[in-house]
């Protein structure tokens, strides 16, 4: 039946949306079950957990389907681009979502706020991330941004009896909404200057000599919007408060997934704008953003006592390292840097999820213990998890043989190739500073006497997340190229292919 109402939906377009659809439909189903269940308490996490798994599989299947395909399949008039790049980011998002779902199971049960709508919101947000990182069209980008952000605002305030939680939600909401307004103004100006909402058309054409100043202003505002989501200095102010106040499982989700989506989208936008689409001013701006982000994040993290807050500042710092990649890419157009950013994203997601998983596991019943000093002696009381946490900290600090190190190596390697040695030196000095506060966790774990008992039972699910993250971090660090040399599925090969696929 060809109805005029549904003119452009065909199987191919739907297939290209597959991971997005899985998330969204999964979220709707969870919501439906929630509505039908009434006041009954169902194992929500196990209802929701298959969704990211299926999305992961879908992304993997599609990754196989699109690899090497030209022209890239696009759906809905180019608003949604399906390529290896987007699917790779989707994989990261799906992994993060899966972990967040599993961790939330432990966390919400302990905090006695185990509800179905929470998981639906998580899945919706993941869907928004898929859209956000796979779109080159202003409206889809904006809607993806909103679909990604609004559930996270809500989830931040999910513990509505807790002052910290609602305060975090309020701060995140205000600044997030402000940033989307800036993003939107940027988009509107770009559209006003060029008459097109397609980033490729608008930005590529818009920076030709003699083009309107509107596009430049708009482009910078768009960039600002992206920088807010990536928590880059000077748009990072919300991060510590929100990370600290939000429920820990949500913080983990934010740190891993939101960051991945934001960097994915920003990287794609920079590619699509093309070397001519990024004016020198913007590239220079990014240079400074990278430097400031690293430095401010690391210096501020030094004094933190609360582990969530410390990880928040650390996430700012890591955004800075990734921004190094983007800044160099913006200045030179070397895609190698983007591959490094993609690699880093996965490693970063794994180590953060793992770290937050341990924090949740040790958080305690009803009341969380989140000071770094609360970890005292855990190394001997709960050695396995402590080793994992230590591994994540070492990885965050960028010490081999971990994914964190190899990611940094790739970034620095790329930047050095392009002659950005001062930038790399600054980054390296920052890494050295960061060792101090990451190792403080090790100090607490192993070198201080225990101060509190651990009477709650460990969780198998959270343990599995921790184990997988730890394994992933090690594999990324030791065998980034796969076990067999030249294996087509090697991660480095994959990210390179993904980056090459962006048009």
């Amino acid at each position: 039946m060809t109805s005029p109402l549904f003119p452009r939906i065909d199987a191919a377009a739907m297939a290209s949306l597959l991971p997005f659809l899985v998330f969204v439909v999964g979220g709707l189903l969870v919501l439906l079950v929630d509505a039908l269940a009434g006041k009954r308490r169902l194992p929500w996490a196990w209802i929701a957990a298959p969704v990211p798994v299926v999305a992961l599989l879908a992304a993997a299947v599609r990754l196989g389907a699109v690899s090497g395909l030209t022209p890239r399949p696009t759906a809905f008039g180019g608003q949604f681009v399906e390529d290896a790049f987007g699917l790779y980011v989707t994989v990261v998002i799906a992994l993060a979502t899966l972990s967040a779902v599993v961790l939330s199971d432990v966390f919400l049960r302990r905090m006695d706020r185990y509800r179905g709508d929470y998981f639906a919101l998580l899945l919706f947000s993941a869907g928004g991330m898929c859209l956000f990182s796979s779109s080159t069209e202003l409206l889809s980008l904006f809607l993806g941004l909103e679909l990604l952000s609004i559930p996270v605002y809500i989830l931040s305030g999910f513990f509505r009896r807790s002052l910290e939680s609602v305060e975090a939600a309020m701060k995140y909401f205000l600044l997030g909404a402000f940033s989307s307004a800036l993003f939107l103004l940027g988009g509107a100006l770009v559209y006003a200057g060029t008459g097109s909402t397609d980033l490729a058309v608008a930005l590529r054409g818009g920076f030709q000599p003699g083009a309107s100043g509107l596009v430049l202003a708009g482009g910078l505002l768009l960039l600002t919007g992206f920088l807010f989501k990536t928590a880059a200095v000077p748009f990072h102010m919300w991060t510590p408060d929100v990370y600290e106040g939000a429920p820990t499982a949500v913080t983990a989700f934010m740190a891993a997934a939101v960051k991945a989506a934001a960097f994915g989208a920003l990287a794609r936008a920079l590619v699509v704008a093309g070397p001519s689409g990024v004016p020198t001013a913007a590239a220079g701006f990014l240079w400074w953003v990278a430097v400031l982000t690293m430095t401010v994040g690391n210096l501020a993290a030094l004094g933190q006592q609360n582990i969530k807050r410390m990880l928040a500042y650390s996430s700012i710092a890591h955004a800075g390292y990734m921004m190094v990649g983007l800044a160099v890419f913006a200045a030179t157009g070397a895609r190698e840097l983007l591959a490094a950013v993609l690699f880093y994203l996965l490693g970063y997601a794994l180590m953060n999820l793992g770290a937050f998983a341990v924090v949740i596991l040790w958080g305690g019943e009803k009341e969380e213990h989140l000071e770094i000093s609360d970890l005292a002696g855990m190394g001997w009381k709960s050695p396995t998890a402590a080793v994992a946490l230590a591994l994540f900290m070492i990885s965050l600090a960028g010490i081999p043989p971990t994914g964190g190190f190899f990611g940094k190596y790739l970034l620095f390697r790329g930047a050095v190739t392009q002659g950005f040695v001062p930038l790399v030196v600054i980054a390296v000095l920052n890494s050295a500073v960061s060792v101090y506060y990451y190792f403080r966790v090790l100090v607490a774990l192993y070198m201080r006497p225990a101060t509190r008992p651990m009477e709650y039972a460990p969780s198998v699910a959270a343990g599995a997340v921790i184990a997988l993250c730890a394994l992933g971090v090690l594999v990324l660090g030791i065998l980034p190229d796969g076990l067999v040399p030249g294996m087509p599925s090697s991660l480095i090969g994959l990210v390179r292919e993904a980056v090459a696929a962006v048009r």
């Binding site: 620095f412 030196v425 190792f439 100090v443």
Partner: protein, 578 residues
Amino acid sequence: MTQSTILSLVVFLPLLAGLALLLVPRQRVVFCRWWTLAAMTAGLVASGAALSMMQKGAAGMQLVHRVPWIPSMGIDYFLGVDGISIYLVLLTSLLGPIVVLSAWRSIGEKVREFHFLLLLLQAGILGAFLSLDLFLFYMFWELMLIPMYLLIGVWGGPRRVYAAIKFVLYTIVGSLLMLVAILYLYFAHHAQTGMYTFDLLRLYGTELTGPQQVWLFAAFALAFAIKAPVFPLHTWLPDAHVEAPTAGSVVLAGVLLKLGTYGFLRFALPLFPSAAHAAQPLFLVLAVIGIVYGALVAMVQTDIKKLVAYSSVSHLGYCVLGLFAFNISGFSGSLFQMISHGLSTGALFLLVGMIYDRRHTREIADFGGLAQAVPWFAATFVFVTLSSIGLPGLNGFVGEFLVLVGAFGANRIAAAAATTGVVLGAVYMLWLVKRFLFGPLVHEENRMMSDLNGREVLLLLPILLFIVYLGVHPGPFLRRMEPSLHATLTLSTPGPGRVETLRMLQLSTGSLRGSGTGWKAGAEGATAPRGASVPLLPATAPEFTAVVPAPGVMDQVLTVTASAFAVSASAVGNGVAR
């Protein structure tokens, strides 16, 4: 190419043993100790085997094990050994079981973890000594950091956390900058040859402009100078030594510091010869300051361990001095000094640890007259002290003397200034002996102390034997290291000789074929056939075979000429002490 897996065995034996240890229930304390001792001993045997498998008189890399690891980046798993590294490997392996034995009683809690970390540390150190791929080297270099950090931080003294963090921060600042430099070198090499590789032997051939060399050398030198430690960067060392448990101190002083000087010898000097030569005056001055300053500060210490730690600063100064003499005497003296310092200072720390286990204090003022209570201990202590001072006939003398000879060849003033360090060394050590062992037995509790037991004798004995053996008969050692040192010296000297030497070295490992390719052509790199002949010293290069004329004669000359000097120095020291 015939690959040899013996080096991988040397490196991974401790690592695998350590991982296996984690599966043991933590209550099985005794088993952990025996297991570790067995693993360390096996490692020592493996190192010995490696030594025996080596071709004598060859300058190039031997027993190469090379497997592509991250081919898309041109990174190989690439181990090899030559006359330089084999002794450091042997030293490390020798100290392994000794360290385990030393911790037999003193480590009572978290035993399994302690031994796991020891094994991990061992693997890291050995790997760093044996890596010929810069990336792999960096991995092992950093891998040592964590176990050492935890050894100090968990089992250390009262200020252990401070000391541990200080140690890590110092090291990491240097090593991260080195990473940048490695990357830069990697790309400079790529720019010249179109090939991405971390193969050290290929990177030796990279031609760099003056400023490039200076910057890269600075980055490498910073990392190694911190580790060594060279004078203004040494401040982490006393803290780390004092707070570390005995086993940690022994490893730290015995082996870890040598990584710094080894790094200079293997990487910083041959990679950037012009810059290294330009920096020669600076490093000579720093080395001399380190020698004198270390000695002077050691003199005023009240804590025995701290005193020994500062003496390390002084002794490592000789190593650096020898390296920057840029002649074969300096180089071989430096390497010899590394080994002998590892033995004698290791032994000193062991002895201090033993006394600490008994009395739980290290203040010199708490002792005195120990010779009456524990005569065997006292005798051993005096013996080791003499070795450390550089008494002719013992190991310390050979290294110091060769270094000074080399330094005279390079810069007379520096050499003369460094000589005062010898005197000062005698002064503080002998003064220590006097206050520590002799005089009236003031503190009654010292009278009740037990003397060395069987285990302690067992662990000290090999060191003492080597102290004597190296001192009396250094020839074979020197002969073995000579060719490699000479090759390194040629590489470290800007000039036409480099190319030929380099070619020889590259031939020895098959590096000429290349392994990594990198970004654009990962696939070809991965499938490229690799292999080369067994590394042999080409017969056409006789200049690498025998450099030291008639080693036996040399020994005697040295012994005789220096004896008088040393005895007088000891006399002066005793006079000061009184």
